[in-house]
């Protein structure tokens, strides 16, 4: 046990050596600032921001900058995510406009504390200190959980790997916030889109309908930029058309930070427990920061002695969701790095980056590229520290971004989205895929279809099919092969249980409704 901890700490020290390399540190700083800007802009989310800048990392990974390599690229890409995690809250608190989906929950108490109670500085500082503590807790857990999970995963065969994929899909269906059948439809659509082009086992063409341009498949990056980048732009255009912007100017003083630290001390148990819960919640595929933020808010309210203050500027209503959201954001990288399964749409994009740089995400990374993995883990500590400091110093500057006119910022986001989708493969087809999926994504959102299952299935589709067919070949076509191993049996059974959760929920709700109807009929008869 002590030996394992020692090994982990040794690896982490090596990781800090990598992350503190001047080029890595410089790119982390740039990424965090970009992430904060992306987080502040309502039409541009963390996922689309990471996807748009993914092509840039190809040049970083291939050494276009002096001393840069794939580790620099992942530090850059992940840094954007850390910045966006913090940046999204600024507009929620100051303008009543969530910059990111995970900041929506801050409209309940963050904005009232800033406006009604006149404490914008305290609201922002409370959010930043709890975000930082949540992320720090999750990163410590990441540090010590990653290697054991990866070492165990190295022993997985095709049956176990397929079972892990199935379990992650089942999680998206069973624990999703939207209607489960909509999740199933989106999941299947993602698997279908991933199958377009050449079959990786037989080399046969499929689903390309005679189009040569579709032989290489439908790219994950243009689809994601479309769904999340263009889709968000269209959604926010609609909101801009009907809404109005509340505006509070804010400066963060040291007194606000000390006041927030005092409030944090009173709520340390809440913040730490929400961070740990957020971490384990974030490890589940498809449940990134957004779902965790709502869970964190619910828990904070549930266990608060001042329930009546929620919705009126209660600080627990800021610290609870923020700590859970940031912990989940960090945790979403754990399954991506250790198992090759993205924990959230953003980590799916980061995982696509690994493929683009020629790396295979999953447990072999720990063996073949330890510098890469431990450099990334160390950069999470540094990234959050940097983000925290920049946030404390630069809130007024970041808030000014909101004053850039709509008629400039909106087309600009479209332009950089188009650059992002084109430049990965120099393909105009990718540009049209982005535009088409932007419109599709906007519509699916309106119809309340979840996009996370589509994106996760699109990135995992090829691997899922490969492992399924490898297992079937090994089992001479018999599906019973999946039940030869205890682990794959347990995982598949767990997946079945997860898929059945929404069904039992529906049946229970119907039974309850039938009981109520019967009781009211009895009352009427009497």
């Amino acid at each position: 046990m002590l030996g394992e901890i020692g090994t982990t700490l040794g690896n982490l020290a090596g990781g800090f050596g990598t992350a503190l390399h001047p080029i890595n540190l410089a790119m982390l700083f740039i990424a965090v600032v970009l992430g904060l800007v992306i987080g502040v802009l309502p039409g541009l989310g963390g996922t689309s921001g990471v996807a748009i800048l993914l092509p840039v990392t190809v040049f970083i990974a291939h050494g276009s900058l002096p001393g840069s390599d794939a580790t620099t690229a992942i530090i850059f890409l992940a840094g954007i995510y850390w910045g966006a995690l913090f940046g999204g809250v600024i507009t929620s608190i100051l303008f009543n406009i969530p910059g990111e989906p995970w900041a929506v929950v801050l409209l309940f108490d963050g904005f009232p504390l800033a406006k009604r109670l006149g404490r914008p500085g305290l609201a922002l500082a409370s959010s930043f200190v709890s975000s930082f503590l949540g992320a720090l807790t999750a990163t410590i857990l990441f540090t010590f959980f990653a290697l054991p999970i990866a070492l165990r995963a190295l022993e997985f065969g095709p049956a176990e790997l397929f079972a892990v994929f199935v379990l992650s899909f089942a999680t998206l269906i069973g624990l999703g916030a939207e209607a489960p059948m909509k999740s199933v439809a989106m999941l299947a659509l993602g698997l279908l889109l991933a199958a377009v082009g050449f079959d990786t086992i037989t080399g046969e063409q499929r689903l390309n309908f005679g189009q040569v341009s579709l032989l290489s498949g439908i790219g994950f990056v243009p689809v994601t930029i479309g769904l999340f980048g263009i889709g968000e732009i269209l959604a926010s255009a609609e909101e801009q058309g009907i809404g109005y912007v509340e505006n509070i100017s804010a400066r963060l003083g040291l007194s606000d930070v000390f006041a927030a630290l005092g409030e944090l001390r009173k709520r340390l148990r809440l913040v730490l427990s929400n961070s740990i819960i957020g971490f384990f919640f974030g490890v589940l595929p498809g449940h990134g920061a957004t779902a965790a933020s709502f869970l964190g808010y619910g828990l904070a309210r549930q266990y608060s002695k001042n329930k009546e203050n929620f919705g009126k500027g209660e600080i627990s209503g800021i610290m609870g969701p923020q700590s859970a959201a940031d912990a989940a954001g960090v945790a979403s990288l754990v399954p991506m790095i250790t198992l090759g399964i993205p924990g959230s749409p953003t980590s799916a994009v980061i995982m696509a980056g690994l493929f683009v740089w020629g790396l295979q995400p999953g447990p072999v990374l720990f063996i073949n590229h330890p510098d890469f993995v431990w450099g990334l883990i160390a950069s999470i500590y540094l990234g959050h520290l940097l983000t925290f400091i920049i946030c404390l110093l630069a809130v007024p500057l970041l808030a000014m971004i909101m004053r850039v006119p709509y008629a400039i910022i909106t087309p600009f986001i479209v332009v950089i989205s188009i650059i992002g989708s084109y430049s990965l493969n120099n393909s105009m087809l990718d540009v049209f895929i982005t535009v088409v999926f932007g419109i599709i994504g906007y519509w699916l959102r309106k119809m309340k279809y979840p996009l996370a299952p589509l994106v996760v299935a699109l990135v995992l589709g090829d691997s899922t099919e490969r492992e399924l067919r490898k297992a079937l070949i090994a089992g001479h076509g018999s599906p019973l092969y999946f039940f030869n191993s205890a682990l794959s049996t347990v995982l598949i059974l767990a997946a079945v249980v997860l898929v059945l959760i929404p069904l039992t929920r529906t049946l229970r709700a119907r039974r309850r409704a039938a009981t109520v109807v019967a009781a009211s009929a009895d009352d009427a008869a009497r």
Binding site: K182, V184, A185, T202, Q240, P405, A407, T410, L472, G477
Partner: protein, 175 residues
């Protein structure tokens, strides 16, 4: 909301049906190259089948359960707000690559490719003029500055080559 939910589910079923028809070879006795392999079409066929069944259930539930009375958009204003962004975006993407088609003998050009930089200038400038209602010199500055900054950052800095216009091919412009 009900007709939109049903129409969306129907569109998903249609996509699934097209994919299933393309994957019918999954049931050919020669599918698969190795013993036990299900072949290239099996997986997309069943993915499409699952998608179709799920969409049919979504459509059925939309028809049989109470749906919100309000429409998809909150009034005409929000429809126009979306169209104001969507239509110029489609036009922008079209202008970059142009519109045309090739036969074995001729290339037909309806709209010549304007390339990324000219299309961006028109798109950004057009937006500033139309939605921003800026003075003409501001429009010109925006139309000029953004493509220039993008050219310097991507073409020179990151060495990313973005699509060029017909004037580039004829040597009239460097982009």
């Amino acid at each position: 909301m009900r007709p939109y939910q049903v129409a969306t589910a129907a569109a998903i079923v249609l996509i699934a049906a097209v994919a299933m028809s393309d994957s019918l070879a999954a049931f050919s006795p020669s599918a698969g190259t190795a013993p036990g392999d299900v072949g290239a079409r099996w997986y997309p066929f069943w993915a499409a089948a699952i998608m179709a069944v799920a969409a049919v259930i979504v459509g059925y539930r939309a028809l049989t359960t109470p749906q919100p009375a309000e429409g998809v958009f909150e009034g005409r204003q929000s429809v126009f707000a979306v169209l104001k962004i969507a239509l110029p975006m489609v036009l922008f993407a079209t202008l970059i690559g142009g519109v045309g088609w090739k036969t074995t003998d001729f290339t037909y050009t309806v709209i010549p490719p304007l390339g990324f930089y000219i299309a961006t200038a028109l798109y950004m400038g057009g937006f500033a003029w139309w939605l921003g209602r800026y003075k003409i010199w501001w429009v010109a500055a925006i139309a000029g500055a953004f493509p220039l900054v993008i050219f310097l950052a991507f073409e020179i800095g990151f060495r990313v080559s973005l699509p060029k216009s017909i004037f580039y091919d004829s040597g009239l412009l460097p982009f």
